[in-house]
Structure formats: structure tokens, C-alpha cells
């Protein structure tokens, strides 16, 4: 089912082609588009005029030409159902913050830097052409980082510098000019970057036949930039290229993955095995092998990490503009008194439950972290009450330190789990389902104490087991697909697990919800840190007892405690790849 009205916000240096890449799928899927473009270029307005002349549907494409500050205003219009933002990181963050709580989807494509990794078994001349194409033609969107293997460093630099000397920059569409200009703002940005780099000790090489006036900036090659300097962490502006050496493939992957940007990259090597290994290892949205910037409308492109999470092109790009039918209408849950600084900071202290009546409950459960039950850092527990108000048990009070430990354990288990075959993953989920069935009576009796009827309790347990099995079966079905496109060469679409998922479960259905959220995350190869239902976490902890024996350590971690506080800790933790939250409006 199509999404509705899409708002499109474009950066000041966008190209017409990029705009079309976003508008066409939206229109094809039946959505209408309102695009905000910077006032410097009239082409989108012409396009909108043409669209308006199409007769029966005058409003399908609307273009507003205005400054970037209109972006958040456009995004907060009530009729907009999705905002697709393409541009710089900071603005993306601002937009995300302003849209929080409203039921507007946000697709982000941030940052325009890409990476070129050159090994010593590559055709260096062709790689030089690739650099020129990527960085200094009008096709490349942003700056370029080069990672060159040390053994070919000199050769590559020499060829690149010689080639730079033959570049020509200027105005005009004639074939004599290689690159144009992106405006005075871009020129200033590049200027500042280069000065900073120089002051930090880098070597700068500029060449090419460039008019000396302001908006034209010559092609620039920066080398010997110390990796710890602030310039090396910032995004590289156009038309600057920053080159750094590496010694082995392993080092290359570490350096390449060591930035928060995860847009696109290319690997140059004539040895197939090495090229594929590096390609798989790079944490980037798009990886090209022995080419750079090959684009085709049927091939999806997107990013990872800080480069955003939306996809363009191909079937994934079309899914961006659809939402599953039967999604309930989402109500905007905007809290008036939302204070990010104080939310969840303090843990309300829990009073002791009063004089204990009846048999003494079991000793307090610990946190299930790293495959075993551990005492919480704060060394305190909270009581859990059953439906009649009696004490049901004690669970641990988890805090920031425990979250940290849980995430670490999850990360340790993540590579091993992701590397497991889908069959192995399915096997484990099925084993857990079997264990749940064996425990049916215990789980059902616990549910009964929470006020659920026996029949319903048993049904809940059965349904949980069934869901685990269903997800186990689905684990087998996911995989990589090979796509044939207009490009000369195959396109491989890899579905990779995200990493560590944090899940905050709702209060209702303490067992079923826990299992239903655990299963899909694990089936796809992620590891989890879960905060179970606040009202009754005991059921989740019962399941943990089975997981302790069945699962590898750290695969699933459960932390109990104050939900708001733990949510805050998880949200602020920067190494959690995704967070699923079911809870209060705040």
C-alpha cells in the first residue's frame, strides 16, 4: 500500500539525476511528492511545470524553491507521511529530533563521501581513472578517501599526480572540460579543509588547468594526514581526495570500517578471492569491485551507520515508498513536557514489600548476561507482585553498568552467531521451542499467578513455542540474491544482520511478547539485549534458564529494572545497532 505524500529535502549540492532517483520511484508507487530544493537551480521548477502540464493529475509533483531552514517546517506539515532527506549529517540529526514522536517516517541519506581501496594486485592505471571519475568529474557526489597498499604507494601517487595535471576545470558542457564547480560554498568548505589539513602536517598537491576565480577549486590530493587528526575524522569535501597507506588487507578493513560513515566504497584487485573478501568485510551500503560509482536504477544503493538507512533504486527503493497494508493508523504521540535530559535518569527507589507473608520466595534472580545469571552492579533488587498483590519474586535492578556489560557480551557473541549457517540458527530456535514446551506447566502456573486463566496461559505458552518454530523456519529462507542489471557485471545483494539489537518489551503478554521479539532478531543473525515486561519479568527469566543451557554465551541477554532508566541507557549507548521500543508515549 502506498505511503501517501512524500516530502523530499535536498542538499545545496544535489544533482538533477539524484533528484530524479528519488522522485521517480515515489511517483511510480503512487505517492505524490513535495520537493524542497535550494534556490540556485531552476531545473526542478521546470520539471514541476512539465509535470503540471500532464493534465489529469496536476498535483503529483510540487517543487518549492527555498532555503534549507524550510526543511523542518516542511517535515512537520500534518499531511506529510514520509520525509526523504538527503544531505549533511547535522541537518539530518536536527530533522530526526524534530520529527520524534510524530508518526512520520524518515528516510535519511547522509554524507557524500566514498572510499576507494587499492590493493597491490590491481590495475593501477585503471584505478587512477576510477579516482578521476569518482572525485573530479561531475558524476561524483563528494570527496573521496583512498586507501592504497604500501607496496604500490609510490607508483600510484606518481600516476595520479600526472593524471591530475591533465585535468581541466571550467565552465561549459563541452568535452574539453572535466569538472565544473559546485558553488562558492563548496569551494570555501574545500579551502578550509585543505588549510586545516596543512596545519596538521599533511602534504597537499594541487594540479590541473583551473580558472583562478573563486568558485573553481582545483583537484586536490592530500597525503600524510595523521590518522588521529580531526581532519581525518571529518567528512572529505569535494574536490578533495585524502590518501592513506595500509600494509595488509586486515589493516585496510580495520581502517576502512573505523569511520562512522558507511556510504559506498570500491575495492580494486584483480584477484577474485581477495576482492570478494574485502568486499564482504567492508561495512558499507554499496561496494563496487574494480569500478567506482556504477549506478543503475534497478540496483539499490544506500548506506550504513551514519550514512543513513534509506535505500534508492531497485525493489528495496520501491519498498521505501510503501507500507504494509493493515498497518494501524499511527497516532502522533507527542509529549508536551518531554525533557530529554531528565528522562529515565533517576531510578525510583522501591520500598521493601512489607512484612513477608507466606513462604519465602526464591532468592532474587540475577541478570542474564553472557550466558549466565549475574548479580547486578547496583546490588539491589525489586519486588514483583502478582495479580492479587502478593509478592511473586524478586528480580535484579539493572543499571547503566549492566547495560554496558550486556552490550559487550552481545557484541562478543555477534560475529560467531552471524557466521552460523541459517540451518544452525533454525536448529537453536527449535530447541528453545522444545524446551518451552517441556516447561509448559511451570510457565503456565506463573502466568496464572499474574491473573491469566489456565487455559489462556497454556495457549500462550503453546503460541510462543509455535512462533519460535516459525521464525526458525524463516531463518532458512533469508539469504543473498544475485541480480542481473544493466551494468556490465553481476550485482550481489547481501542481507546482513545488523549486529546488536536492543528490545524493550511491552507490559502485556509477558511471555508471548518476549518470545515474539526475541525470535525474529535471532533468526536473522543478530544478538539481543532485552528488557522484559516490567510487570512480570519472571517469565522471561524462566526462559533464560533454558537459554543458559542451549544458546552460546552472550547471544541473548536480559536486563531487568526500571524500564525508563534502562531505555535511556540503551538509547544513549552508541554501539547498539537498533532499538525496538514498546512502551509509554514518552
Amino acid at each position: 500500500m502506498r505511503t501517501g505524500v512524500i516530502g523530499l529535502i535536498l542538499p545545496p549540492t544535489f544533482s538533477f539525476l539524484e533528484m530524479m532517483w528519488r522522485i521517480c520511484p515515489a511517483l511510480a508507487m503512487g505517492c505524490t511528492v513535495v520537493a524542497l530544493v535550494p534556490p540556485t537551480s531552476p531545473t526542478p521548477l521546470l520539471l514541476a511545470q512539465l509535470a503540471g502540464e500532464l493534465g489529469s493529475f496536476p498535483g503529483i509533483l510540487n517543487v518549492i524553491s527555498g532555503p534549507a531552514s524550510l526543511g523542518p517546517i516542511l517535515a512537520s506539515q500534518p499531511a506529510i507521511q514520509k520525509v526523504a532527506f538527503c544531505g549533511a549529517l547535522e541537518e539530518g540529526r536536527v530533522l530526526r529530533r524534530s520529527l520524534a514522536g510524530k508518526c512520520v517516517e524518515l528516510g535519511l541519506a547522509l554524507g557524500m563521501e566514498s572510499l576507494l581501496l587499492l590493493t597491490d594486485t590491481a590495475d593501477v592505471d585503471s584505478a587512477v581513472e576510477g579516482v578521476v571519475d569518482a572525485a573530479w568529474s561531475d558524476r561524483g557526489p563528494g570527496g573521496l578517501r583512498l586507501l592504497i597498499q604500501e607496496s604500490v604507494w609510490d607508483e600510484f601517487m606518481r600516476r595520479l599526480q600526472e593524471r591530475m595535471g591533465r585535468l581541466r576545470s571550467g565552465q561549459g558542457l563541452d568535452g574539453a572540460v572535466d569538472m565544473g564547480t559546485r558553488g562558492a560554498a563548496a569551494c570555501d568548505l574545500a579551502q578550509r579543509f585543505v588549510h586545516e589539513a596543512q596545519s596538521q602536517g599533511a602534504q597537499v598537491f594541487q594540479a590541473g588547468d583551473v580558472p583562478p576565480k573563486s568558485p573553481f577549486y582545483p583537484p586536490t590530493l592530500v597525503s600524510n594526514l595523521p590518522p588521529a587528526s580531526p581532519c581525518a575524522q571529518a567528512e572529505v569535501p569535494w574536490p578533495v581526495v585524502v590518501a592513506s597507506p595500509f600494509r595488509t588487507a586486515k589493516e585496510a578493513l580495520a581502517v576502512a570500517n573505523g569511520t562512522p560513515r558507511g556510504g559506498s566504497a570500491s575495492v580494486w584487485s584483480e584477484r577474485l578471492g581477495q576482492a570478494l573478501e574485502l568486499g564482504y568485510g567492508l561495512q558499507m551500503g554499496t561496494v563496487w569491485i574494480n569500478a567506482h560509482n556504477l549506478r543503475d536504477p534497478s540496483v539499490p544503493t544506500g548506506g550504513c551507520k551514519e550514512s543513513g538507512c534509506s535505500w534508492h533504486g531497485g525493489p528495496d527503493g520501491l519498498y521505501e515508498y510503501l507500507r504494509p497494508s493493515r498497518t494501524p493508523i499511527q497516532v502522533s504521540c507527542l509529549s508536551k513536557n518531554m525533557n530529554y535530559d531528565t528522562f529515565g535518569l533517576a531510578v525510583p527507589s522501591t520500598l521493601p514489600a512489607g512484612p513477608e507473608i507466606g513462604p519465602s520466595p526464591a532468592p532474587p534472580y540475577g541478570l542474564f548476561v553472557g550466558g549466565r545469571f549475574q548479580a547486578p552492579g547496583a546490588r539491589s533488587s525489586r519486588p514483583i507482585q502478582d495479580s492479587s498483590g502478593n509478592l511473586h519474586g524478586y528480580v535484579a535492578e539493572g543499571g547503566a553498568k549492566d547495560i554496558r556489560g550486556a552490550v559487550e557480551a552481545a557484541h562478543q557473541a555477534a560475529p560467531g552467531w552471524a557466521g552460523q549457517s541459517p540451518g544452525a540458527r533454525a536448529g537453536l530456535l527449535w530447541a528453545l521451542a522444545a524446551a518451552l514446551e517441556r516447561r509448559k506447566s511451570t510457565l503456565a502456573s506463573r502466568l496464572e499467578r499474574q491473573g491469566v486463566e489456565l487455559k489462556a496461559a497454556e495457549a500462550e505458552v503453546e503460541l510462543s513455542a509455535r512462533r519460535l518454530r516459525a521464525w526458525g523456519a524463516r531463518a532458512q529462507a533469508q539469504g543473498h540474491t544475485l541480480q542481473v542489471s544493466g551494468l556490465r557485471g553481476p550485482v550481489l545483494r547481501l542481507r546482513e544482520p545488523l549486529g546488536v539489537l536492543a528490545v524493550v518489551c511491552p507490559d502485556e503478554w509477558p511471555l508471548l511478547a518476549f518470545v515474539s521479539l526475541l525470535a525474529p532478531a535471532l533468526a536473522c543473525g543478530n544478538t539481543v539485549v532485552m528488557v522484559p515486561s516490567a510487570a512480570c519479568p519472571l517469565l522471561a527469566l524462566e526462559v533464560c534458564q533454558d537459554m543458559a543451557t542451549l544458546f552460546p554465551a552472550g547471544l541473548a541477554n536480559v536486563v531487568t529494572g526500571d524500564r525508563d532508566h534502562l531505555t535511556r541507557c540503551l538509547a544513549l549507548h552508541q554501539d547498539v545497532q537498533a532499538l525496538w521500543y514498546f512502551g509509554s508515549a514518552q
Partner: protein, 275 residues
């Protein structure tokens, strides 16, 4: 020819370290043809420069002294006099770079050029052109006879059986092929060859020349070749000592383009002198 290739020791590791990224080379070839277009008076200038690189060639079975004479005259006056006058280039001595004929016709060519008062070199194909599958003794004898008759350049056909078994020779110029194959001078092949020339120059300081031959028929193509050499090797290689185009019908197409530039009209075949 300027300096001869002083040669170096054969280092086979240079050859084994070569990597060629075929799709990237194909992309570069397409790019060269598509992006570098020259128009108006610059086009006319480039075309005249292209003329000075042509090795005007006739290699057919029925060559006799009469068509060789016509060829040599055309080599001396490649573009019609009035057209050159209109471009103010009639006194710059524009001739083709050389005349290329079979060894038996070298005598005729030398005589015709002397009669025309022209000192263009005569190049001879030799060594069992075009297949090269003759005995070494006769091949050497062919070269000797051609040189005795007055040829100053020899297009040598290498022994392909030696190449395919990895035994290499050196030279002053490399040529894409004899021109008699099914696939002759294509841009991707040329890109790889030009890069090899550049590598060799960087490693040894020797400048090797380049000659594409076969299949270059239109003036537009010749401009693409010139821009390819300019981009990959630089202006130094755009001299007849280091760059030749082996062609026969190319000259008439260039002449027609220049006619169009000067007069604004397209010429018929009979308007321009035959070669």
C-alpha cells in the same frame, strides 16, 4: 625517427606483474570517444596535425609504379592547395609522415618522391608481411634489400609463435597490428599499449613510438586517436617521430572535412584529387 631505443635487459618480471582491468579499460575507451570532441577552427587544426601523422599506405596485390607515383604525389600535397591557402597553412610544408609500400615497390616510391622533390621517408613492410611465417633467412634478406632500395623505416612483422611462447624482442615503435586482421586498431587495445609505453619510459627513459593501423577511416576517429595519445602520454608524443597512423582512405575523409570547414559545403568525390 629520432633516437633509437637503446634497449634494456629483458626483465620478465615486468611482464608478469602487469594487471589489466578489462571492464575499466573498456569504459575509458568509451569515454575518450564520447567526451573529447573538437569543433570549428580547432578541429581544422587538429585535422591538419593528424595529416602529418599519416603513413600513407598502399598494400595491395596490384600495386604498380603508376599508382605508387600517384600516392607519392598525394603524400607531398595531401590537401588541395586552395584549401590550404584559405587556412593560411600553404607554406607550412604539410605533408604526410611517410609512404608505406611493399618491399618490391620501394624503388618506385623513392624515384617518385625524388621526382616530386620531397624528402618524406619511405617505409617498407617486410619480414613476410602480413603473416610473418617465413624463414628467418629470407626475412632478413627482405629487410636488407628494402634498405638498399632506399627505405628508411621498416614495419617488421614479429614472429607470433615466439610471442605465444613468451620469447620477446625489442623495438623503436609498436604497432597495433598489420592492418590485415579482422580486428585491428581498437581503443581498448591502444589504451593498454599506451600505458605500457608510458611505463617503459618511466622505467628506462626510452621513448617508444606508437602506430595504430587498420580500420581508421573517418576523420572523427583520427581526432579520437589524437586525443587518446594526448591524454595518456602527453603532448611530447604528438610528433611524427613518436606517433603514426597507418591509413589510406583516412586522408580523403580529412580532406573532405577541411573542404567543409573552408567552404561550408560537402564535397562530392570527384571534387578532390585521388590518392
Amino acid at each position: 625517427m629520432s633516437a633509437h631505443n637503446r634497449g634494456t635487459d629483458l626483465d620478465l618480471s615486468w611482464i608478469s606483474k602487469i594487471q589489466v582491468n578489462h571492464p575499466a579499460v573498456l569504459r575509458r575507451a568509451e569515454q575518450i570517444q564520447a567526451r573529447r570532441t573538437v569543433k570549428k577552427e580547432w578541429q581544422a587544426a587538429w585535422l591538419l596535425k593528424a595529416v602529418t601523422f599519416i603513413d600513407l599506405t598502399t598494400l595491395s596485390g596490384d600495386d604498380t609504379s603508376s599508382n605508387i607515383q600517384r600516392l607519392c604525389y598525394k603524400a607531398k600535397y595531401p590537401i588541395r592547395e586552395d584549401l590550404l591557402k584559405a587556412l593560411n597553412m600553404h607554406d607550412k610544408g604539410i605533408t604526410t609522415a611517410a609512404v608505406c609500400v611493399y618491399p618490391a615497390r620501394v624503388c618506385d616510391a623513392v624515384r617518385a618522391l625524388k621526382a616530386a622533390g620531397c624528402n618524406i621517408p619511405v617505409a617498407s613492410v617486410a619480414t613476410g608481411f602480413p603473416a610473418g611465417q617465413t624463414h628467418l633467412k629470407t626475412r632478413l634478406e627482405e629487410i636488407r634489400l628494402a634498405v638498399e632500395d632506399g627505405a628508411t623505416e621498416i614495419d617488421v612483422v614479429i614472429n607470433r609463435s615466439l610471442v605465444l611462447t613468451g620469447q620477446w624482442e625489442g623495438s623503436d615503435f609498436i604497432k597495433t597490428s598489420t592492418g590485415k586482421e579482422t580486428v585491428n586498431a581498437t581503443f581498448p587495445v591502444a589504451i593498454v599499449m599506451l600505458r605500457a609505453i608510458r611505463d617503459f619510459f618511466w622505467k628506462t627513459g626510452n621513448k617508444i613510438g606508437f602506430k595504430p593501423a587498420g580500420g581508421i577511416r573517418s576523420a572523427k576517429d583520427s581526432l579520437a586517436w589524437l586525443s587518446l595519445v594526448k591524454e595518456e602520454l602527453g603532448d611530447e608524443w604528438l610528433k611524427p617521430e613518436l606517433f603514426r597512423i597507418g591509413a589510406s582512405t583516412l586522408l580523403s575523409d580529412i580532406e573532405r572535412q577541411i573542404y567543409h570547414h573552408v567552404t561550408g559545403r560537402y564535397a562530392a568525390y570527384h571534387d578532390l584529387p585521388m590518392s
